[in-house]
Symmetry: C2
Subunit: 228 residues, 2 copies
């Protein structure tokens, strides 16, 4: 059975990307990161999602991105609230974590090389997250090219490593519709940047606003728990 | 003063690359990794070297590459000894750590972005380490291109991020001669894959053999402590 490393944050997008990998017949090795997030709720969601979608294995890499600071998600900066227009804009938001996808894909590459597999899935999309430079197709193509020069597998076997981005061209509503069709249980996922201690989402941060707008546009109810 | 992030392992090559960055007038931010090496002697050497070469700051990122296994440097596989010909060959050695330079450069990129700087120094060379896919000029060029698409700095400012590889075309003897001319104190550096508990080098692993051959070819004595 062909194998793939699947980046899994515990959020809506990466859960859907994992479901695409399963649909395409891959045995999935889910990879999460404990990178000094403000809460561990996201990691618990990742474990639930990996189990529910039948991942063969789920590993969590501990790295401390707080060492460098520079983002509301890892440093002591307030998470912006109630600004859907800004969240959907082309501006790079303060919640951007420097080089995050590059670091995550690098670890995925290391695991793929050890597993001897040539496929990596990542749930980025260029529509809702156009503000993040490392969510763009040109970036992914450049990473793929670099990865094929970086590894023993690429150099020796002539196999081409592929970074799969099944959500890249989808809107949030299209992602949700696809995920529902593939059987993703979105009640297990977590998207909020600023959840309550019991894990309920705030409903006001950029991530909650995009998620709620996506469910509304998809004509579905978000089964995740919210504060109100 | 212009700033640069300098990858620093504590070995001979990265110490020399740092000396090149200082010569070129950069304020240097040295970056090391605690990645489940068999010994912490290398990290102590990195701290000594950073101090002695006047780095502004020295950070160590803790990551666990043992999570994936796959190398004699991070998994429980014996370090090969007394095989200079093999060490100098084009074969990829068992001490190769999957995607290591890609992971290291990704963290350097994150720090560079937070510092707002556009220069990264790495002490790779294509001559002695031609067996490692991620020590080749084509790989570095591909990483640089990817990095310029990955970051806010590259996308917004139009500044070009540069990966400096001052040692890329040098033999080990040439690296040592250049470092001695730049005032590197090689007694502070550590290269051995299999040192004694007190830090003395084994003199027989690939890294020791290449280092000793380099000093011999440079007509200099290696000031590092060896077991015999």
């Amino acid at each position: 059975m062909k194998r793939a490393v699947c980046l899994l944050s515990g959020g809506l997008d990466s859960a859907t990307a994992l479901a695409f990998a399963r649909r395409d017949g891959y045995a999935c090795y889910a990879l999460s990161f404990d990178y000094g997030q403000r809460h561990r709720i996201e990691l618990e969601a990742a474990a639930r999602v990996a189990r529910s979608l039948g991942a063969v294995e789920h590993k969590t890499v501990v790295i401390d991105l707080r060492l460098f600071g520079g983002s509301a998600l890892t440093a002591d900066i307030a998470v912006p609230k109630d600004r859907l227009a800004a969240a959907m804009s082309q501006d790079i938001p303060i919640t951007y974590v420097p080089a995050r996808n590059t670091i995550f894909l690098s670890f995925a590459l290391a695991w793929a090389e050890v597993l001897g597999c040539f496929d990596i899935f990542i749930g980025i999309n260029a529509v809702d997250y156009s503000g993040y430079p490392d969510c763009r197709p040109a970036y992914i193509a450049a990473f793929e090219r670099m990865a094929n020069l970086a590894t023993r597998a690429g150099v020796e076997s002539g196999h081409e490593l592929t970074i799969h981005t099944p959500l890249i061209a989808l809107s949030k509503a299209e992602i949700i519709r696809a995920g529902l069709a593939l059987g993703v249980d979105y009640s297990l996922t977590h998207s909020c940047y600023d959840p309550a201690a019991d894990g309920r989402a705030c409903g006001h941060c950029d991530s909650c606003l995009l998620r709620l707008a996506g469910f509304a546009a998809a004509g579905a109810a978000d089964p995740a728990p919210y504060r109100q």
